[in-house]
């Protein structure tokens, strides 16, 4: 058991350092190595953060949904999955907010707009609110928390593709072919593509690292709760012997022997 824990710590450290290094490399790639865009110039470099952040926002939600499903399924039911789902959601909401902010920062100098009603942005905004709702549920304590949150996560997860599809269809009908939409569909080649890929990789490492950290925090808290519980049980049984209305009093009151 201790060897497992030690291996776990080592892997976590490796992941952590890899994440840090790959972020540094991303910075170099994104800010210097990749060429500036012909039209958008340097503002386009925000894409190297925005797209990986978006990837993470959705990945985290997928992990939350998967954890929730595994928790609900009897055969794999375990608090491990509940903790993973919760930890992933906390990370995901941050990256969703980041995606939206970066999207605005990118959009404003390039196209003059803070927001556009295209399927991807709108779905990400809805995703943000779905996260917020899930985290609100997470804050409510009680024995049923894991089941409530798991079902809520799955309800929300199923909704995301429906939202995306319906908004996409809506915008197509309105023939909103703005420059914004065309740009997002543009092909990216060479160094820029590589930088983008590297960004996704770096952010994924960050996600794994943060997930592990948050998970262990939750596990430690629950471990402490277990110990407190055992103590509470012992105290309760003892109070039955000596406290008011306890065993000693009952003997005197004529309880049957």
């Amino acid at each position: 058991m201790r060897e497992d824990a030690l291996l776990h710590r080592r892997v976590a450290t490796v992941v952590g350092w890899s994440a840090l290094v790959s972020l540094a490399v991303l910075a170099v790639l994104g800010l210097w190595v990749a060429p500036p865009d012909a039209v958008q110039r340097d503002a386009q470099r925000l894409m190297y953060l925005h797209v990986p952040a978006a990837w993470l926002a959705y990945l985290a939600f997928g992990v939350t949904a998967l954890g929730s499903a595994l928790y609900l399924w009897r055969r794999t039911r375990s608090p491990v999955w509940d903790r993973i789902a919760g930890a992933s959601a906390e990370i995901g909401v941050v990256f969703t907010a980041l995606t939206l902010v970066l999207g605005s920062l990118w959009g404003r100098p390039v196209w003059g707009i803070w927001w556009a009603w295209d399927a991807r942005l709108v779905t990400t905004a809805v995703l943000f609110f779905l996260y917020v709702g899930y985290l609100a549920l997470r804050r409510i304590p009680g024995p049923g928390r894991a089941t409530r949150c798991a079902i809520a996560a799955l309800i929300a997860f199923v909704d995301v593709p429906i939202v995306h599809f319906s908004v996409d269809w809506w915008r197509t009908l309105h023939q909103e072919g703005t420059v914004f939409n065309d740009e997002l569909k543009a092909q990216i080649h060479g160094t820029m593509a590589f930088t983008l890929f590297w960004g996704v990789l770096a952010f994924t490492l960050v996600f794994v690292y943060l997930l592990d950290k948050r998970y262990r925090l939750e596990a430690l808290e629950e471990g402490r709760d277990e110990r407190e519980l055992e103590q509470a049980i012992a105290e309760r049984v003892a109070s039955g012997e000596t406290g008011p209305g306890g065993a000693a009093d009952l003997v005197d009151s004529g309880a049957p022997r």
């Binding site: 024995p143 509470a232 003892a238 209305g245």
Partner: protein, 234 residues
């Protein structure tokens, strides 16, 4: 005689608090068992656990053949719980509430009217639930429990709030239980009255069944064995 209830080391948590801290209990079919103990000793929780309303944190529990850790809902159709509240709807009348409970349990309107008669609420049949007095609500709660025609009747401080006539009704129901193929588990502070009704008494203190006899009389081999149990528990 088959065992209707079998609990071993049952621990039940309310939030973080261990309301039951390791209860052992066996109840045979047709018995009338009294659960006594101070406020906060876990009587209500024990009854609710048996009704499948609370999960067990640890330990085992089998009620009417259903394992509580696998299937809490299975035994419910055969269980009637008289709790602190009626589980009814303020805007509906007594008769409507009872009919809903009866029909949900697969019974019909005629049967529900008969139960209404038995608990003495026929005159209040068309009174809205929100207008009932506390004692009338108790009677209605008893009626709802009986309307399911349960094999296991769980009564939580049933005499509380009832007038003399109501108490008589309740005593009749409990007395008639064995002949109606019902097992009764009743939690109460009114020890004078209930000790007369019950076949045996189990005392809860600190979330554990301490005194009285955990096993039904028919499975005891000798009084000495009972003495041994007490020494170990206390």
């Amino acid at each position: 005689m088959p065992l209707v209830v079998r609990l071993r080391s049952a621990v039940c948590l309310l939030g973080r608090f261990p309301a039951l801290a390791g209860v052992d209990l066996d109840v045979e079919a047709g018995e009338v068992v009294l659960l006594s103990g101070a406020n906060g000793s876990g009587k209500t929780t024990l009854l609710r656990v048996l009704a499948g309303l609370h999960p067990l944190h640890s330990g085992t529990g089998v009620v009417l053949g259903h394992d509580l850790s696998i299937d809490r809902r299975g035994a419910r159709r055969a269980i009637g719980l008289l709790g602190h509240e009626t589980g009814c709807y303020d805007d509906l009348t007594v008769r409507e509430n009872l009919r809903f409970a009866a029909r949900a349990a697969g019974s019909d309107a005629a049967a529900s009217d008969a139960v209404l008669e038995r608990v003495g609420l026929s005159a209040q049949g068309d009174v809205a639930h929100g207008r009932l007095s506390a004692g009338q609500r108790r009677r209605l709660a008893l009626a709802v429990a009986l309307a399911r025609n349960p094999r296991l009747l769980l009564l939580d401080e049933p005499h509380a709030g009832l007038d003399a006539a109501g108490r008589a009704v309740l005593d009749d129901v409990v007395a008639a239980a064995p002949s109606e193929d019902r097992t009764v588990l009743l939690a109460s502070h009114e020890l004078d009255r209930t000790r007369a009704l019950a076949g045996r008494e189990v005392v809860l203190a600190g979330g554990v069944a301490r005194f009285g006899v955990a096993e039904p009389p028919t499975s005891q081999t000798s009084a000495a064995k009972a003495e041994e149990e007490e020494v170990r528990a206390g």
